[in-house]
Symmetry: C2
Subunit: 286 residues, 2 copies
């Protein structure tokens, strides 16, 4: 695996790859790699000749009260894991390489996709995401880019951006990877104490609870959300940011669950904000 | 010359061109082609194997009170002129091809580059320009893109966008083309009556006046602007939008002219808003 800190170096590597007609996969990450990231990398390695993984803690997607300064960083370990997962080029630029002097350009998706769910509690977050991902898309010009279903709203926003701006890139979405006990993998899990780690199981368990309720016939959005909310509130350490059942396409609520809905959660466990989600499907036969 | 209305058709043509290792030049226009556009196209033809010209009256760069509906359109004549100027592919998409259903993504340069000069009197204009040009850049993925110095602020904004977002595209800026009597070529000149056409000469003449003043030793920004303003006001049909002497890099005013400044004008002649500009250079020897 080769490592690059500058756009120029990475580009000359990629120009060579393109000359050899090699396909290029991109896995954008903020580092602190876990099995979720590695699953993206392995998928990318299976589908492309070259896999570029970026490790860049992007300042523009953090709010002023958020955890930019403390976000876990461990480049040496990340590099070892990435190489094992099939990454051929690691791009680890300093902030001033991606946001150069005089930088003033933003890419923004407006409307329900960025105003709902995490958009409400993290204003500006998705503007930071689309701004950095559009830069990475242009730097790497990959054939395919890989994102995790865990960040489902990010996926929907980036799909919209890719389509609207005509990026000639295929977005590939990889399923959530969970610990054995159900906790969705996240770099922020590292913040949790043992007690909090146990309490955090309430997220995935509440999604299972929702599936049971729907299987039992409930179709009313408010009723499903209320049941999930009550379930989570039984955990003393949990403070709900949102529990919402929305349509997967526009991330807006409907009165009734039809065909398939997206149940998305953001819950604070102590100081750590965690997210999780699942699709709720109405059985074809009832 | 081949003509395309859809992104898909144009892309399959361009994929073939790239397979043959042909270089691609892009000339984005809103049609109503004049010698200024044709100069861009001829330059592009001299520097590239393939020249794509787009003709697209972009609704997002017009304000609600502006001339979107009446903007001159003449595709048949434009196509003939473009072919003669060396264009190999004409891209003439309907609005709903560039802004598809569900479109919600904007590209925006913020700060002095878009807030000064035309940014003040045309809020949202440059956001529309960067949004459509980023789409065209991704659709065509040219090696070089051509813009006219007449739209000097647009040039500076697009240079910023290209650099910030790492578009792998060389921006080429082509000098202003003028009528024999000095009037800068513009599609909007078609709006002028004979009397207005004569009055419109005040723009280019005032730029010549400014050059004389600077040659005579004036360096004070306010004094140069005041002299140009007074000169324009002698023309009864002229209503000044702005007269500003700014630094070419950030488009912000300085107290004194040093080395080189950009003198930019927007003036209404009747209902028609015209722009013009020139660089003012301080002589190396005095």
């Amino acid at each position: 695996m080769q490592c690059f800190e500058t756009v120029e170096q990475l580009r000359s590597y990629l120009t060579e790859a393109r000359r050899r007609q090699q396909s290029i996969g991109l896995v954008p990450t903020m580092g602190a790699l876990h099995e979720g990231h590695l699953s993206l990398m392995r998928t990318a390695a299976a589908e492309n000749d070259i896999v570029v993984a970026s490790i860049f803690v992007n300042p523009t997607q953090f709010g002023p009260q958020e955890d930019l300064a403390t976000y876990p960083r461990n480049l040496e370990k990340d590099a070892r894991l990435a190489a094992q997962a099939g990454v051929t080029a690691l791009f680890h630029p300093p902030v001033e390489e991606v946001y150069r002097s005089g930088n003033a350009t933003w890419v923004e998706v407006v409307g329900s996709l960025t105003e709902s769910l995490c958009g409400r509690s993290r204003p500006g977050h998705f503007r930071g995401v689309t701004t950095v991902v559009s830069r990475l898309f242009n730097i790497v010009q990959p054939d395919r880019a890989y994102f995790g279903q865990k960040d489902v709203q990010q996926v929907q926003v980036l799909k919209r951006m890719t389509q609207d701006l005509f990026f000639d890139i295929q977005l590939r979405v990889v399923p959530i990877v969970r610990e054995n006990d159900g906790l969705a993998m996240s770099s922020r899990n590292a913040y949790l104490s043992d007690t909090e780690r146990q309490a955090a199981l309430i997220l995935s368990r509440s999604l299972e609870e929702a599936k049971r309720i729907v299987k039992d016939g409930e179709r009313d959005t408010a009723a499903i959300e209320a049941a999930v909310t009550a379930f989570i509130q039984k955990e003393e350490l949990a403070v709900i940011d949102y529990v919402e059942l929305v349509h997967p396409d526009d991330l807006m609520r409907r009165e009734q669950l039809e065909a398939v809905g997206l149940l998305a959660l953001a819950v604070r466990i102590g100081k750590t904000r965690l997210i999780d989600n699942t699709f709720l499907e109405v059985p074809a036969c009832s």
